[in-house]
């Protein structure tokens, strides 16, 4: 037989064909593969806002002067605060914060303006609902920024000199500082993880559960063809999902594609192989599809929390960072963000790429060995 004939008659073709038919007929799988990318994209793209801005703020202005109003304006200009109303008393502040109308309150005492005029240090107070540390951090930094800006302005007006220092911040790669730009590339990684570990894992468990895996082992298909035929369809689905998310991400969230898409597709191979390894590994433990699903979710959690998908890894305690180092997604996120947002190439990405390839080899070899042992 020629090589071409060999390829044409390879036994993994019928496996491939069968798998695609099953995918199309299984409503849940089909839904997960088509609906999931859209839902994940919208949910994570819109909902995850790690940068807290526009805190609802009430103002208790006991000074009632042009000076006090200037402070309120500067504070609102930071973008961290939205002034939603004026209140007349400290009691009203307490009520506003307790019933959730406001997250912060600015108190300007009666002698604020006179202190400024006389060259004494004027004080104002920022009250913050700090139950949520992320919002309070935004309020605190916003208040400090406002105070500095206003102080510089006052000094400048009084001495009629230019400010001695002007720090100009240039946010590269994501100038508008939108969370979606950071999150949406990661959605690709999360989706691929779900498809390869959860859906592919369940598909293998289903064969085992129904006795068809045993039936296949008795046929001359061979373990390599069996696995290739079983897993390749999910790779195809994964690439489709990925392309859909990139397209919709561009359309809806204006996510840039600055680097080489071809390189991204190529570096997705080791990530897919590693994730399929995990899925296959799970399938060798799970006795039922429900168990496989639970195990896969158990694997998803550290991926969402520790890989740097939402929370920066630098902010994590060291043991959490170590766990992150064992997750393929950690490296794949660097590849995704590097290529899509920064437009860098293999030269800059060789470290995460090498780690990804090493993990892929390790995960796949271990799980394939375990898998072939369990069907023996």
């Amino acid at each position: 037989m020629t090589v071409l004939e060999r390829l044409r008659y390879a036994r993994f073709w019928p496996m491939l064909w069968k798998e695609f038919i099953q995918m199309r007929r299984d409503r849940l799988t089909f839904l997960m593969m088509t609906g999931l990318p859209a839902i994940q994209l919208l949910l994570f793209g819109y909902a995850i806002q790690t940068d807290v801005r526009h805190l609802r703020t009430v103002v208790l202005d006991e000074s009632r002067t042009a000076e006090s109003r200037a402070l309120v304006t500067v504070m609102a200009n930071t973008g961290n605060f939205d002034v939603v109303g004026n209140v007349a008393s400290r009691e009203a502040i307490r009520i506003a914060i307790e019933n959730g109308e406001a997250n912060a309150a600015l108190v300007i005492p009666p002698d604020y303006a006179s202190d400024v005029m006389r060259g004494r240090t004027a004080t104002a107070q920022m009250i913050v609902d700090a139950a949520d540390p992320q919002s309070s951090a935004a309020a605190i930094s916003g208040a400090q920024l406002a105070a500095q800006v206003r102080a510089t302005q006052i000094v400048g007006e009084r001495l009629s000199i230019a400010p001695p220092l002007d720090m100009r911040v240039r946010p590269w790669y994501n100038p508008a500082q939108r969370s979606a730009v950071f999150i949406v590339p990661g959605v690709i990684g999360i989706l691929l993880t779900i498809t390869m570990t959860l859906i592919a894992g369940i598909a293998v468990v289903r064969e085992r559960e129904r006795g068809t895996l045993e039936q296949l082992v008795v046929t001359p298909i061979g373990k390599t063809s069996l696995m290739l035929g079983k897993l390749i369809p999910f790779v195809v689905v994964g690439y489709v999902q990925m392309s859909v998310v990139m397209g919709l991400g561009k359309l809806i969230f204006d996510i840039p594609v600055r680097g080489s898409v071809l390189l991204l597709y190529a570096l997705t191979v080791p990530f897919i192989v590693a994730s399929l390894g995990v899925g296959l590994f799970i399938s060798t433990f799970a006795r039922s599809q429900a168990q496989a699903m639970q195990l896969a979710f158990f694997f998803m959690l550290p991926n969402i929390l520790l890989s740097g998908y939402i929370f920066p890894r630098m902010a994590m305690p060291e043991p959490a960072q170590w766990i992150g180092l064992a997750l393929p997604l950690t490296y794949y996120l660097k590849v995704l963000r590097g290529i899509l947002l920064k437009g860098v190439g293999l030269g800059e990405l060789w470290r995460p790429s090498a780690s990804l390839i090493a993990l892929a080899l390790l995960f796949f070899v271990v799980s394939v060995r375990r898998f072939t042992k369990t069907i023996d």
């Binding site: 019928p14 129904r210 006795g211 045993e214 082992v217």
Partner: protein
């Protein structure tokens, strides 16, 4: 490949020598010496846990024997499993059908896995479907078939490649009597064409349909021969009595 002649001079479809399988401390099959001639319908009987399924699974290459040797259709299962797999068919209690594929898709899939292509496959599948009378259900999902039809489809899938030897592990469990009769007619048709058949069963009327029988008890071969020989050996009027007597002895030995 499946149509090639057996190695010259070999009249045995199955030959096991000192076959043994243990799972940890549990010995499922021990020192099993068994020969099955080509073209035979051979019954493997024994109470639950006697080692029937383990034996079949070793002969099909699903389990690796702990010790001993199994030669199936002229090839050592441990040495050349590929040669064995292309020449045998296997049908388990669970049928191994894809519920979410149609009748035709199931047949097509298994035929393709066994290496049948193009015109040959299409013609053979048509003939097969006609033979088992399932042509009118060809586009129906296998999961929606009744137990009897599922069983017939499973047999068709296991024999699509016309194997020399067919292993049936409790093929008629949970199927109504009419379907069982139809199933046995198919078995005889296959045997008439020269297919060797090894079947395990709980139904004693089915045991009586076999040419030769082997009784297993707790992993040991304790009786072998034609129905008549078995009856004489255990001095019982029916195969069912032999079975009950064996189970009684087995429980006595285990106690």
């Amino acid at each position: 490949m499946s149509g090639t002649a057996p190695p010259a001079g070999s009249t045995l479809a199955v030959e096991t020598i000192g076959l043994r399988k243990s799972f940890g401390p549990l010995v499922a099959v021990d020192r099993l010496d068994l020969t099955i001639r080509r073209g035979e319908v051979f019954g493997l009987l024994g109470p639950n846990g006697s080692g029937k399924t383990t034996t079949i699974r070793m002969l099909c290459g699903l389990l690796t024997p702990t010790a001993g040797k199994a030669i199936v259709v002229g090839h050592d299962v441990a040495v050349d499993p590929e040669a064995v797999r292309t020449r045998i068919g296997y049908m388990s209690q669970r049928y191994g059908l894809y519920d979410d594929l149609t009748v035709e898709e199931n047949l097509n899939f298994y035929a393709a896995i066994y290496g049948l292509h193009g015109r040959e496959r299409a013609d053979r599948l048509e003939a097969h479907m006609r033979e088992i009378g399932i042509t009118e259900f060809r586009s129906q999902l296998a999961g929606t078939l009744s137990g009897g039809w599922k069983q017939r489809l499973a047999l068709a899938c296991a024999t699509a490649h016309e194997p020399e030897m067919l292993f049936l592990d409790e093929p008629t469990a949970g199927v109504d009597p009419a379907a069982r009769r139809a199933f046995w007619n198919s078995i005889y048709q296959l045997a008439a064409r020269g297919t060797t058949i090894l079947v395990t069963t709980h139904y004693m009327d089915e045991a009586a349909r076999c040419l030769r029988l082997a009784f297993l008890s707790r992993g040991h071969l304790i009786g072998l021969g034609t129905v008549k020989e078995i009856l004489a050996q255990f001095n019982q009027p029916t195969i069912e009595d032999v079975f009950i007597e064996l189970q009684r002895r087995d429980e006595g030995a285990a106690a």
